[in-house]
């Protein structure tokens, strides 16, 4: 949360580009984890800049839960087309069909946890040694502890107590067979930095970030998007509201905020006056106090 706006600090862009170039130089098979959200859109722009006029030297990987917002998928395909990127998609549905994971049931069922298995399988299938992600340290308290190059063992697990020292700007990407590194180029950016960057760079974003009419219902004090993917009970009336989303996750775990924002400037103004954090609208974080750390231990990004 911030109380006033500021220009985007350009040194954050220089740092991120430096990190992306280190990835391309130090690893054999990097991949950029692309969710279609604002953070991964920012990463794509940074990667374009880092290697220009050459192509981005790694593919994008989208782990599709099957519960995405349609708008995000459409946006993803348009971006890939426009920039001539290579996109790999792997489906949580396939992991379910192969009985590697079991679909959750009940009111709070979500595929958010399941996608870790699909991700780890994709890493193994392609032999990815570095996965670039758009996680930021300001998002969440376990993420605040992350290194820029975060080593994961051959089960994809994060061991918070055994992190490598990371000194000055020197990045050590050496790993053994089977291990991989999660790389976070925008570690030091805040939500506001990302929006200011999107504004300054005039980047396109999926329409669900802007205010739109949507069928919604209330649960636990939050406004949720109505979809076929969720069980809605009779005492949760569905109604049409003007809303937007602050993060793009699964439809089952991303809450909406009431909003009239139609332009980036409006979004920035809303964030400045918001009293709830961005992940405050993520139901996946609310499962327990240490939900994020536990998911990261299991191989989540």
């Amino acid at each position: 949360m911030a109380t006033h706006n500021t220009a985007f600090p350009r040194e954050l862009e220089d740092e991120a580009i430096y990190i992306l170039r280190e990835v391309a130089a130090q690893f054999e098979k990097p991949v950029l984890l692309f969710s279609g959200g604002k953070d991964s859109i920012t990463l794509v722009r940074l990667a374009q800049k880092a290697f220009y006029p050459a192509r981005i030297p790694f593919p994008l990987l989208h782990v599709d839960t099957g519960h995405n917002f349609e708008e995000t998928i459409r946006f993803r395909d348009e971006l890939v087309e426009e920039l001539g990127l290579e996109l790999i998609v792997r489906y949580v549905q396939d992991s379910i069909d192969q009985q590697k994971v079991v679909e959750e049931t009940g009111k709070y069922a979500s595929r958010n946890v399941l996608q870790t298995v699909t991700l780890l399988d994709a890493i193994e299938e392609f032999g990815f040694d570095a996965c670039i992600g758009g996680a930021r340290r300001d998002e969440e308290k376990a993420r605040a502890k992350e290194r820029i190059f975060s080593v994961r063992n051959d089960f994809g697990q994060w061991d918070a107590k055994k992190q490598r020292p990371e000194l000055f700007d020197m990045l050590n990407g050496r790993i053994s067979m089977g291990e991989n590194v999660r790389v976070f180029p925008i570690s030091n950016w805040t939500e506001l930095d990302v929006w200011n960057y999107i504004r300054e760079e005039q980047l396109a974003i999926p329409s669900i970030y802007y205010s739109h009419e949507r069928e919604t219902f209330e649960r636990d004090g939050q406004i949720l998007p109505y979809s076929n993917f969720m069980l809605v009970s009779d005492d949760e009336p569905v109604s049409t509201r003007m809303v937007r989303f602050r993060t793009v996750g699964d439809m089952t775990c991303t809450a909406a905020v009431e909003s009239t924002a139609v332009a980036i400037e409006d979004i920035i103004a809303e964030i400045l006056s918001a009293t709830v954090s961005e992940r405050g609208a993520r139901i996946d974080d609310k499962r327990s106090e240490a939900a994020m750390e536990k998911r990261k231990q299991a191989g989540y990004f």
Binding site: M1, D14, E22, R55, P165, E166
Partner: protein, 415 residues
């Protein structure tokens, strides 16, 4: 918009995490959902106040034990600037995490418990701040509420700190002192009324006024080549650029330069940022450089001005801070990473193990254990291009990597 990077330091329980939490709280940087979450955890722990240290102690183990184990990075901003605070652990056994947090800092914020005054860890952390040449040190004498906001306690701590500091500080290093109570927010954002004897600005104003390092652009320019950009496309058929981040100094278009190690001379033909031409690039800027002549350059090479060459050698003398459980011994071989340049290195001699509290030097050193600091001589498999750390922070440091575990096991500051 500039960014000030701060690292906390000081012994366990001196109040580092609480101070950061309070600073965020007082600058309205905590959202209600995060505040509610820590209120709930405080209650669960049976506390009758909000434990703001829970904001930064984000790991399960940290919350269980009530201590900081690894660095947390915290962000907030005021209309003046953006702040990045690395909250570091105070325990001796986690010193390497403290060094990680401090290595990028412009400011070292050292906390001292007013009741105990300076303790061993205060000395150790100040010593490390000097070793890393952090230009600004702010000593917060904390928990003033527990000594009745007494000026004498503050002055005594200050005197004891300075007696030690005078022996290890480097010329130009700024040291300031401020009496605070993190728990009650005294002298953090607003001037405390409980300490009328202290008339200077509160902590936040002090942090807003700290000048950022200007000298980076006055240093000789160093451009380590990170990545060679060769599009091989129709449109950019013959394009070849050297991408990297300027380590120090100012890189100018038209300048005569030397490429190391080949020693070939050429001229900077063009400097680009995402295809846009710029006249000069400053320290920390990520750019692409195009040269006048066809020179053979690969990752790890360095472009430097003809008039200001770095040192070039296969022998390095450095002060090492060791970060691994397995001790360093003379005769061992590691990978040495200097910026983006890597080669094998063998430790030839080990000397001057320093006791950072008494400042005694032990010249007979057989091994360097976790968190110890000593001088080493290294022989490297290829030539490195470097400056002394004291003259050039960016081009004067390296890390050592254990080839068996791939872990970063030490940091070296070149003498």
């Amino acid at each position: 918009m500039d960014v000030l990077k701060i690292a906390t330091a000081g012994s366990v329980d001196d109040g580092k995490s609480t101070l950061i939490g309070r600073l965020l709280f007082e600058t309205n940087s905590i959202t209600t959902d995060k505040l509610e979450a820590i209120m709930a955890s405080s209650k669960k722990k049976g506390l009758d106040y909000i434990d703001l240290s829970l904001l930064t102690d984000g790991l399960i183990a940290e919350r269980e034990q009530g201590i900081t184990i690894d660095v947390a990075h915290i962000y907030f901003s005021t209309p003046m600037r953006k702040f990045i605070i690395a909250d570091t652990p105070g325990h001796f056994e986690y010193t390497r995490n403290m060094v990680t947090g401090a290595s990028n800092a412009n400011v070292s914020m050292i906390l001292v418990d007013a009741r105990n005054g300076v303790v061993e860890q205060t000395f150790r952390h100040f010593y490390i701040s000097c070793l890393l040449r952090i230009p600004n040190v702010v000593v917060c004498v904390n928990k003033m509420d527990l000594v009745d906001y007494d000026q004498k306690s503050f002055e005594e701590t200050k005197a004891a700190f300075m007696a030690f500091a005078e022996k290890v500080r480097f010329p130009g290093q700024e040291i300031s002192f401020i009496p605070v109570s993190s728990l009650y927010g005294e002298n953090l954002v607003r001037q405390s009324e409980l300490m009328p004897w202290y008339q200077e600005a509160p902590l936040l104003s002090l942090l807003e006024a700290i000048p950022l390092e200007q000298h980076l652009s006055e240093e000789p320019s160093r451009f380590p080549v990170q990545y060679v950009v060769r599009p091989k496309s129709e449109e950019f058929h013959d394009y070849r650029a050297y991408a990297g981040k300027v380590a120090s100094g100012l890189l100018r278009k038209g300048e005569r330069v030397v490429v190391l190690p080949s020693g070939q001379e050429t001229t900077i033909a063009r400097i680009e940022k995402f295809g846009r031409e710029i006249e000069a690039a400053q320290a920390k800027e990520s750019v692409s450089v195009l040269l006048q002549d066809d020179v053979d350059i690969s990752r790890g090479d360095m472009i430097v001005p003809l008039s200001q060459l770095p040192r070039q050698s296969r022998q390095l003398e450095a002060t090492i801070c060791w970060m691994d459980k397995k001790p360093l011994r003379a005769g061992s071989t590691y990978l040495l990473q200097h910026g983006v340049n890597v080669a094998k290195a063998k430790v030839s001699t080990l000397s001057n193990l320093i006791d950072v509290v008494t400042l005694d030097n032990n010249t007979q050193v057989s091994e360097l254990k976790l968190n110890e600091i000593a001088d080493v001589q290294l022989k490297t498999a290829k030539e490195f291009f470097y400056d002394a750390f004291a003259d050039n922070r960016a081009n004067g440091s390296f890390i050592l990597i254990d080839e068996q575990t791939n872990s970063t096991v030490g940091v070296g500051l070149i003498r």
